[in-house]
């Protein structure tokens, strides 16, 4: 079991690095991804040099998918980072100080957790008509309550430890204790949670663009590509299979890696 689990970073690392290359270098790999060719129209995979065929506008499905990686991945990374920053800041304060801030934050989390994320994200982003970055902002707001809760819990677990007692006895300031002593012990869990959040945000973001929100028309994006492909599923299977597999593989790889990291950090915490 352990030997096989140690393979996880390599198994997940390969697809993730390929996708990272797509994100960073797509403008050089596929400079003409959005070029239309109406005369060609929809073609099946393998026709005329198009490995995955073309869509209604004659765009190459493979090139479009490579170009769509950045829109699918960058937003989710920003969401996970932003929501974890809010989580660390507010969660640490709530966990260490308690009081009305703690109460207020937990009520806010209760309110947001009372509704499915998909539904709130759909209604809010759909009604305010914001573009890509507004969607990112809305999802940060929706993701932060769980992060606040998680950090708050870990901070409270640390507060009872002897080293915090001694720091208090030494007369260190509260801010110093919170951010120099407690935080480093919370960061590993925060990091693995953040990774899991990237996967979750990737799914939510592409779900929204699947519903026609978040990404402008014409911008290459996996979710958008999938929703377009519904109409050509009978003429070009590549248009469905490629973006669907890319989303599933990316989300699964990030999830596996995050899960593996979380296990490792937990084991280390137990050993201590």
């Amino acid at each position: 079991m352990t030997t096989r689990r140690s393979l996880i970073p390599f198994v997940t690392g390969i697809p993730l690095s390929i996708i990272a290359i797509f994100v960073l270098a797509s403008r050089w790999i596929v400079p003409n991804a959005t070029q239309q060719d109406i005369m060609t129209g929809v073609t099946a995979p393998g026709t005329a040099g198009h490995l995955f065929g073309t869509d209604q506008l004659g765009r190459d499905i493979g090139q479009l998918a490579i170009a769509g990686a950045s829109s699918a991945v960058v937003g989710p990374i920003v969401i996970a980072l932003g929501s974890m920053m809010i989580g660390i800041l507010l969660g640490t304060f709530a966990g260490y100080m308690g009081g009305w801030l703690d109460l207020l934050l937990s009520k806010y989390a209760d309110l947001l957790l009372a509704l499915p994320t998909t539904l709130v994200a759909l209604v809010v982003t759909g009604l305010i008509d914001g573009g890509y970055w507004v969607t990112v902002l809305v999802l940060i707001m929706l993701f932060s309550p769980t992060d606040i809760r998680m950090i708050r819990g870990s901070v409270i677990a640390q507060t009872g430890r002897p080293y915090i007692e001694s720091a208090k006895v030494l007369g260190l300031s509260r801010r110093r204790i919170m951010f120099r002593h407690i935080l480093p012990n919370v960061l590993p869990v925060a990091f693995s949670t953040m990774l899991l959040n990237v996967a979750f945000a990737l799914v939510s973001m592409s779900a929204l663009s699947f519903l026609g929100l978040g990404v402008g028309p014409g911008v290459p994006d996996w979710g958008r590509q999938l929703s377009d492909s519904r109409d050509l599923i009978d003429r070009n299977w590549g248009s469905v299979v490629l973006p669907a597999m890319l989303i599933i593989i990316t989300a699964a790889a990030i999830n596996l890696l995050g899960d593996w990291l979380q296990d490792r950090f937990e084991q280390r915490a137990v050993q201590r």
Binding site: L115, V123, F200, V203, A207, I233
Partner: protein
């Protein structure tokens, strides 16, 4: 005398840790949550960019008379709170106003579509429970076995896999390639309806099953690590007796979380209904959001929130009744 008695009885009923007190407090909390949510849902009308009256006109020709009649109908010239109370008064009576896109009341629109969504939810919920709970128990029982490892790995993929991607892949493989199941639509009632719902239900169940599997496995593993299991084993209780003990305890958290899973199904139906072109509540919401059909959006959001809040309430009370440990600890 009598009043003193009833007073004592009341204090007893409302004493810390009593069931009545618990139910009253939870009811009040749920009520408060719903009031806050209804306020937010109402505010959507004003948070949407543009003049609310114009938004409510939709694609009809904007004439000053029409705008005026809409302002009168929705009391848009009144102060915000009065508007809200008016709206809430109608909502409580089941009147969500009229749909902008379709020329019917929101209530008729919803009642035409709610059955399909309920059928889809019930179908996928049944699939989830039938597959995930037994697998979770088996995986926990033989933790580390091939079965455990493969299903656990599959569940990590399943939790992360987006429903619409899975749905479209299933649609392609079983709908078009193998041509077993119908591709689009909801069938003409009876068996045909269920036949049309097979692929959507499997799609929706795949993500949920992964979640429920993980949950069941964790619950059973936690129970197996309890001291009483080691004690029962050393006392020589049979495998079957121990299993029934463990399962009875482990199923409490599983059963309660299943309630919440059912409630959250309504979030998942949005994507599945859009993927398979099913005319349910979820696809109605997606369409209404892009069309800015606010009365419909408000109605569906509030109804979903109410269903979830009431389920959570029921689950909490059930948990409290079933698990004596929670009762002893009292309310948090």
């Amino acid at each position: 005398m009598d009043s003193a008695h009833s007073h004592r009885r009341l204090t007893q009923l409302l004493s810390r840790g009593s069931l009545t007190r618990f139910i009253i407090v939870r009811l009040a909390a749920t009520g408060l949550l719903l009031v806050v949510l209804s306020f937010v849902v109402f505010a959507l009308l004003h948070l949407t960019p543009g003049d609310p009256a114009r938004n409510l006109v939709g694609v009809r020709n904007v004439t000053p008379e029409l705008l005026q009649s809409i302002r009168d109908k929705y009391h848009l010239n009144d102060p915000f709170l009065t508007q809200y109370l008016h709206w809430l008064g109608n909502v409580v009576q089941g009147d969500f106003g009229e749909s902008i896109r379709n020329n019917t009341t929101v209530t008729t629109l919803l009642s035409d579509r709610v059955l399909l969504t309920l059928q889809l939810a019930a179908f996928s919920f049944t699939l989830t429970v039938l597959f995930a709970v037994p697998l979770g128990i088996a995986a926990a029982w033989r933790s580390g076995s091939v079965l455990d490892r493969s299903v656990s790995a599959a569940s990590i993929v399943g939790v992360g896999a987006p429903t619409y991607a899975v749905g479209l892949l299933l649609l392609y493989v079983f709908g078009l390639w193998l041509d077993i199941f119908p591709v689009y639509g909801s069938g003409d009632g009876g068996f045909d309806r269920w036949w049309h719902l097979v692929l959507p239900a499997i799609t929706l169940a795949s993500g949920l099953a992964a979640m429920v599997f993980k949950l069941t496995r964790t619950a059973v593993v936690a129970e197996l690590n309890q001291d009483y299991v080691a004690f029962a084993q050393s006392r020589g209780l049979s495998h079957r007796q121990i299993r029934s003990l463990v399962l009875r305890n482990a199923m409490i958290p599983v059963a309660t979380s299943l309630g919440l899973v059912f409630a959250f199904l309504f979030g998942g139906t949005i994507l599945v209904e859009v993927t398979f072109a099913l005319q349910g509540i979820g696809s109605l919401l997606a369409g209404s959001v892009t069309f800015k059909d606010l009365p419909v959006v408000q109605a569906i959001t509030l109804l979903t929130a109410t269903v979830i809040a009431l389920t959570a309430l029921a689950v909490d009370i059930l948990y409290y009744v079933v698990d004596p440990r929670v009762r002893k600890r009292g309310m948090k």
